[in-house]
């Protein structure tokens, strides 16, 4: 193999890799949607802690989550390192969501100064993992 042929092969590999990697960009959308839903759920539970409001918010959240997961599993590409990235993101989300709810219901009932930033905190984990995945999908190998 000649030098120029090797260069052409490498250029082709970069082009194909870049095209394939861009197929994993959907995870940013997943992170945004999940983050927004988590934010709304936390705000509703924290600021309107009536049984019907909480029930409605939880119901809508689970329906939305089911739709989101169905959409995600029908994507054509699973981004590189997705399992670990998403696992860490969901773990951190669970921890953040649990802490915001636990501390908020005990010490800051219906206090917007706790629940608004708390809701934003619960939105962050999957926004960050989505962003990391997107950044990885834009960077070349």
């Amino acid at each position: 193999m000649r030098q120029n042929e090797a260069r052409e092969a490498l250029a082709l590999a970069r082009k194909v890799e870049s095209r394939a990697r861009s197929g994993g960009g959907w995870y940013m959308g997943f992170g945004l949607a999940f983050g927004a839903a988590s934010c709304l759920l936390t705000l509703t539970i924290g600021l309107y802690p009536t049984p019907w409001a909480m029930g409605l918010a939880m119901g809508l959240f689970w329906v939305f989550l089911a739709v989101l997961i169905t959409w995600a599993v029908t994507r054509a590409v699973v981004p590189r390192g997705f399992g670990r990235l998403h696992g860490v993101g969901m773990g951190v989300w669970g921890l953040a969501y649990g802490l915001v709810l636990l501390l908020g219901t005990r010490h800051f009932p219906q206090d917007p100064s706790w629940w608004v930033p708390g809701a934003v905190v619960t939105a962050l984990p999957l926004l960050v993992t989505g962003y990391l995945s997107l950044r990885r999908s834009r960077n070349s190998a």
Binding site: R2, Q3, L12, A13, V16, E17, A20, G23, P79, G81
Partner: protein
Amino acid sequence: MNHPRDRLDEVIHAPVRFSIVAALAAVESAEFRFVRDTVEITDSALSKQVTVLEKAGYVRVHKITVGRRARTSLALTKEGRTAFAEHVRALGEIASGETLRTPDGA
């Protein structure tokens, strides 16, 4: 002397297979149709090349049914990733001219 071209992987070296492996190296897994469109080949050509890669132990084929749709997912195995990385490394050495120069430039 060990010329990098001796380290080129014969299975991956074929242009279409090289493109398929390059596409799969960039992702965890991808659907058959996505790889077909990315590499710009026909279903039958991709199917044929995937069989070769699967036999070499470089590609894993996974068939699942989501709803009413049957989906075929392709992924590189650990051996496939290692072979591709080594192949690209050898190409890089050839491209940079880090090798002994032969009269024909090969």
